[in-house]
Assembly symmetry: C2
Homo-oligomer: 157 residues x 2
Amino acid sequence: MNSIEIRKGIPSDIPAVMKLIRELAIFEKAEDQLETTEEQLVQDAFGDKSLFEFFVASSQGQVIGLSLFYYRYSTWKGKGLYLEDLIVTKPYRGQGVGKKLLLETVAYAKQEDCTGMYWQVLDWNSPAIEFYKSLGSQVDGEWLNCKLDKVALSQLG
Amino acid sequence: MNSIEIRKGIPSDIPAVMKLIRELAIFEKAEDQLETTEEQLVQDAFGDKSLFEFFVASSQGQVIGLSLFYYRYSTWKGKGLYLEDLIVTKPYRGQGVGKKLLLETVAYAKQEDCTGMYWQVLDWNSPAIEFYKSLGSQVDGEWLNCKLDKVALSQLG
């Protein structure tokens, strides 16, 4: 593959990051679920209280991939890194960009003294599951995700 | 039930919080998995960079329940609250303490401008699943949890 650089994300990456997030939402036929804006992402990543951090993969100065994460906390294990999104734009898939992003994030988790790295995968995505297992990750289907969305929250309490 | 107070956790609550965490670990026959210490929990909650916050339920000055949470980030929805642990000590179960803790956490999520509240439940825990659904939460089994633990992390990158 062409030379791919992985680096920490900066505010001026946000428009390209938003494009990747939108590409994934369209692929999942859920563009109408996408409520964040570029301005909000800049504020949430780089404002007073940073809610997430990210790495980008770039090729010839263009952002073509994203690893977006924040810190989680395990009362048994302490500080961990939660990988929320790992996206590579379609024309660049199958060239190891995702693996590069993932491994850079692993290195960062270690540097930041995280005792674990966590993420989720859809249960039908066998190639991804096999890939994650090949890296040594445990994949567990015992837990269900629970969510109170904006509407449900507004009706409680 | 006796009068139960729900309030934000403070550093001097941590020994009681650790006791609740240990009680749950013993119940799950996983006490050997418990690696955090009281000192570490104090540091991680109240140090320079707070990794989690919590509410306690207290009865006659004694901590009998815990809701422990941190912020997550959804690239589609923005800031959310992730509820990591909801624990009520055994003698006080079945008296609505868990619901009180959960609703106080919901109120806090709304106050902190979260667009959603998230947590997980074991797939065989039908009473809990029904309770969460009765509050309006969506429960979804499509996703698997992936984890690189300390050992797996150390072998990568």
